[in-house]
């Protein structure tokens, strides 16, 4: 069973097609990167997989559960760290983590255990009692991902997790993501080529709502005849654009 599967997944907003007939499979424990320019359809794809948006047509499933008809089951299995830092600004780091544990109905003992685990993983000790609004961008991102992870999801969606972070904060987050590899399935959207290159098992390059190329980095390099993900991306985007204008 795939952790994620989409079949002809399509999302249209009036005349604009945000995602077009997407066929994807993501294996359990895989870190799958969705790469693309703004408006390529990465976030829309994640929103449909996280049951935040209904597909116009096609199917998508998470761990065998249909995102449309079994959304309650899907929601129990996923965690999401949205593009903007989605934290309760007036709550402390500890209270934000407790909030999520409360929503998932964990017992006080279980909550305490999970908070200790997240605190250790993200080194949150020094900011545990600080209000979220006083945190730097890096700490907020860490908290946001910790909130997504605390419910121990089978599938974690990371929507541009390092956007706007300085290089040190980004590298620190990478370490955390790398430490999770193989343990849970992760879908990462990013603009940063080196991030996708460094972290992902497989990469899908999305252009205009479609997957223009898909594979491991060596496979993509072979397909495009370029080396390095940035060159691969540019070549594939150019070829895709040319193909579209020829049609």
């Amino acid at each position: 069973m795939y952790a994620i599967q989409t079949k002809k997944l399509t999302k249209k907003y009036k005349s604009k097609t945000a995602v077009s007939e997407l066929d994807l499979t993501v294996n359990e424990g895989e870190l799958f990167a969705l790469l693309g320019v703004n408006g390529a359809g990465k976030t829309t794809t994640i929103r449909m997989l996280a049951c935040l948006s209904k597909p116009t047509s096609g199917e998508c499933s998470v761990c065998g559960f249909d995102c449309l008809s079994q959304s309650d089951e899907v929601k129990k299995l996923i965690g999401i760290s949205p593009q903007d830092t989605a934290v309760a600004e007036n709550l402390t780091v500890l209270e934000n983590l407790k909030l999520i544990c409360g929503i998932y109905g964990y017992s006080p003992e279980n909550t305490s255990e999970k908070i200790t685990k997240m605190t250790k993983l993200f080194k949150l000790d020094e900011v545990l009692n600080s209000r979220a609004k006083t945190l730097s961008g890096g700490w907020k991102r860490k908290l946001s991902i910790a909130m997504a992870l605390i419910c121990e999801p089978k599938v974690l969606f990371l929507d541009e997790p390092t956007l706007g972070l300085d290089v040190l904060a980004r590298r620190e987050l990478w370490k955390v993501v790398e430490s999770l590899k193989g343990k849970i399935t992760m879908v990462l959207t990013t603009h940063y080529m080196e991030e996708a290159e460094q972290l992902s098992d497989r990469i899908a390059i999305m252009i205009d709502g479609s997957v223009a190329a898909l594979g491991t980095l060596p496979e993509l390099e072979q397909q495009s005849g370029e080396t390095g993900l940035e060159n691969v991306f540019v070549r594939i985007a150019e070829d895709f654009g040319k193909g579209a204008s020829d049609e």
């Binding site: 049951c51 935040l52 760290s81 007036n90 209270e95 909030l99 409360g102 929503i103």
Partner: protein, 254 residues
């Protein structure tokens, strides 16, 4: 229940940790209570104007304070909607009913605390000014204000759901002004009469204030018609707010 409790605790803390909520929801109404008591002292008895006497003022100020709570409910909802916080929660097993209860319950508690403080302050003023306020009547006033609490929370929820972070507070300010003016908090609507009084009678604010005043005066016969009208408005608006919130949540997830 766990989901509602967790979200309610968050919303409760979100409001009480905003220093502005103390200034607007408690400070301002209490300052107005003192100022209007001083104004009342300056009015000669032969003028026969009792609108600012503490037994009339207490209920009016309590409703006035609730209008600011409406503003804070509205701000909490719009802030959650404008950021990605609700997006995160939409992806959890929380349902629309959990969100609605999570917004209503803590603010209802805050409203009751706010009314209690206003009534205690009014009682202290009554002791100083020598105008008798019956503690039983004040307890009745607290109960009589429950429909007004629900009404103001529904306005906050409704505006917060329908309008943006920029538009909603402006709209709330209009309701605050309307509620205090057409509620007859600052003038005697009945004595004024005419079209203005007709408008006051059509809207729920005057009835909410009047119910609280009647309760303070232990006039149960006078209390019930106003209480029923306010309760009817509260039921209509809370139902509308719930339906609109559910629809908006559904639309956000389209």
């Amino acid at each position: 229940m766990n989901k509602i409790k967790a979200f309610s605790v968050r919303n409760f803390k979100e409001i009480i940790r905003d220093p502005l909520s103390y200034i607007f929801c408690l400070g301002f109404p209490l300052v107005m209570l003192v100022i209007m008591t001083l104004v009342n002292d300056s009015i000669p008895p032969e003028a026969g104007m009792t609108i600012f006497r503490i037994d009339n003022l207490a209920g009016g100020i309590a409703v006035f304070g609730l209008t600011f709570l409406m503003l804070f409910v509205c701000l909490t909802v719009t802030k959650d909607r404008s950021g990605a916080f609700l997006t995160r929660l939409y992806a959890t097993p929380m349902r629309s009913g959990d969100f609605i209860a999570g917004y209503i319950l803590p603010t209802a508690l805050l409203a009751l605390i706010q009314i209690l403080i206003t009534l205690i302050a009014s009682f202290i003023v009554s002791l100083i000014t020598g105008i008798k306020l019956d503690p039983v009547g004040m307890f009745l006033a607290l109960l009589s204000l429950i429909p007004a609490v629900i009404l103001m929370i529904s306005f906050g929820l409704l505006f917060g759901t329908l309008f943006s972070e920029k538009a909603a507070p402006g709209l709330c300010s209009i309701v605050i002004s309307l509620a205090s003016f057409l509620g007859g908090v600052w003038f005697d609507a009945e004595s004024t009469g005419g079209v203005l009084f007709d408008i006051c009678k059509v809207l729920p604010f005057w009835h909410a204030v009047k119910a609280a005043r009647m309760a303070c005066a232990m006039d149960l016969n006078g209390l019930f018609p106003h209480l029923l009208i306010t309760a009817a408005y509260a039921i209509v608006f809370i139902t509308t707010a719930i339906v609109v919130f559910k629809q908006k949540m559904k639309a956000d997830n389209q």
